[in-house]
Amino acid sequence: MANGCIELSNVTVRRSGRTILNIEKLSVAAGQFVNLVGTNGAGKTTLLCVCCGLIKANTGIVKLGGVDLASLGGWQKVALRKHIGYVPQSAEYNAELPFTVREVVAMGRTSAKPLCSPIGREDYEIVDSWLESLGLADRRNQTFRSLSGGEQQKTLIARAMTQQPAVLMLDEPGANLDFNWKHKIMTIVEDLHRQTLITVLMVSHDADLLPVDAGRTILLHDGQILADGGIRDVFESDAFEKAYGYKFKVLDFEGRKYVLSRGR
């Protein structure tokens, strides 16, 4: 995969006779930071799964790095996914196991290496450099389960980056975190984007803290793109009010953008 561009055209996903995703056209350029917002059940996670080929679209074309996913066989699709760094929601990983922080971060090398090939010294150099970059070096031998929610999220981001991906997908990285940690995680993602210029696709429920770097916000509602543009264009749009049932106002404060609800 040469780059992290994503293209979808006329994509529909149906489940139990209901259309849960209906995207006429979506094009994300390599290196872009896209903030994906929408209410519960809007289709945000489904869209992420479609982009990485985990959910097959009923109709339409999905391209990742310029490659049509439908043209790939099972093994080729798996190989293409090696370029995706994925930070899941907390329900999707087993935080009770006594893996150390370094072990969890080293899991990022699993798909970067061929099947059955062990993780070697050069892999651990990459692991340690990301532990260092994200300020986790002093926690490396601590268990993942002993970390706070914010530190766990940071570890999962380090795990995803260790994979050296072309696309970083984050599924609600700020969920269940206090404002302080949400702020830290957002800053980490923004810094990573600036340093590595990888494509970032971030699903977010949080309207109270927005990524400064997100050149683009996409509002999904009932599986469709209702608005696509800059932060202010989307959050202050009629479409956003229609989706959430509230009016919103974007405020600038010390270089960050925050969204306030203005009531119905």
Binding site: K82, G85, P88, K113, C116, T143
Partner: protein, 266 residues
């Protein structure tokens, strides 16, 4: 002690170590009931193989592997069927088939029921060689697929989304489970396998930090539970299977207490 009992101790140690090691992954993947499910599949396989005049061990292996593959074929995110619910459904089918077979076989019901608790005291040298070979296979498998198994335990979603052959590795793992459990069934027994899979691994997860220490602790605890349980039963004249199960449960209890009192592992 009669030198014959040395063979029993060796069989117990190898079986306990194998199930202790396997348990690390089974408990880590939160599918402990796979022990009971596959044991009953093996029992059903043994019965039906006997009914049609085939080798009972081959029947046990075939039924266990088929059950493992059926379980691997279930993709929870697509089928909306949780792995443990799938296990419960397969278990009920295997239980039904076991009792159906027992109804048909008539004469040697006690032998079949013996599979539930195993017959470690009547172990043959051939059986010990077989479970030792399977134990070696398991060690090789866990070493070769070490990084993949760790990610599978941690998150199947991450494994699938980031380009690991998650379905393939999971299927191979379940087949290896089926093989290990099928060959250990006659010696250790279906109910004891369940305890030796769950308790040593659960104990190790309580007190260990890092995957390697969990693997070593659980394997040793599995072997120790089997050996200490046998020695208790030998010197106190108590049922062997029951002693092994109780010792392994006590090992978990001590580990849980230790963690609580010392706050270790983290």
């Amino acid at each position: 002690m009669d030198p014959f009992f040395y063979l029993v101790i060796v069989a117990g140690a190898i079986g306990g170590a194998s199930t202790g090691l396997l348990g690390v992954y089974i408990v880590g993947m939160r599918i402990p009931f796979i022990g009971t499910c596959i044991s009953h599949a093996a029992m059903a396989g043994t019965i039906f193989a006997s009914l049609v005049g085939l080798n009972p061990t081959a029947g046990a292996v075939a039924a266990s592997v088929l059950t493992s593959i059926s379980l691997a074929a279930n993709r929870p995110h697509k089928s909306r069927l949780d792995t443990n619910v799938g296990l419960a459904i397969l278990f009920s089918l295997m239980l039904g088939l076991t009792f159906l077979g027992m109804g048909l076989i008539q004469d040697s019901r006690s032998e079949i029921l013996g599979l539930l608790w195993g017959s470690i005291l009547f172990v043959q040298r051939d059986s010990v060689v077989l479970i030792a070979l399977m134990g070696i296979l398991l060690v090789i498998f866990t070493v070769v697929f070490n990084k993949e198994l760790k990610l599978l335990m941690f998150s199947r979603s991450i494994a699938a989304a980031t380009g690991m052959h998650e379905g393939l590795v999971y299927c191979v793992f379940l087949v290896v489970c089926g093989l290990i459990l099928a060959v250990n069934l006659k010696v250790i027994g279906g109910l004891m396998i369940f305890s030796l899979i769950t308790n040593p691994a659960a104990a190790a997860y309580q007190v260990c930090r890092g995957h390697k220490s969990v693997v070593i602790t659980s394997t040793l605890l599995g072997a120790l539970s089997a050996v200490v349980g046998f020695l208790f039963s030998f010197y106190l004249g108590l049922p062997t299977g029951a002693c092994i199960v109780i010792v392994s449960t006590m090992a978990f209890g001590i580990a849980a207490l230790y963690r609580r009192l010392s706050g270790s592992a983290d």
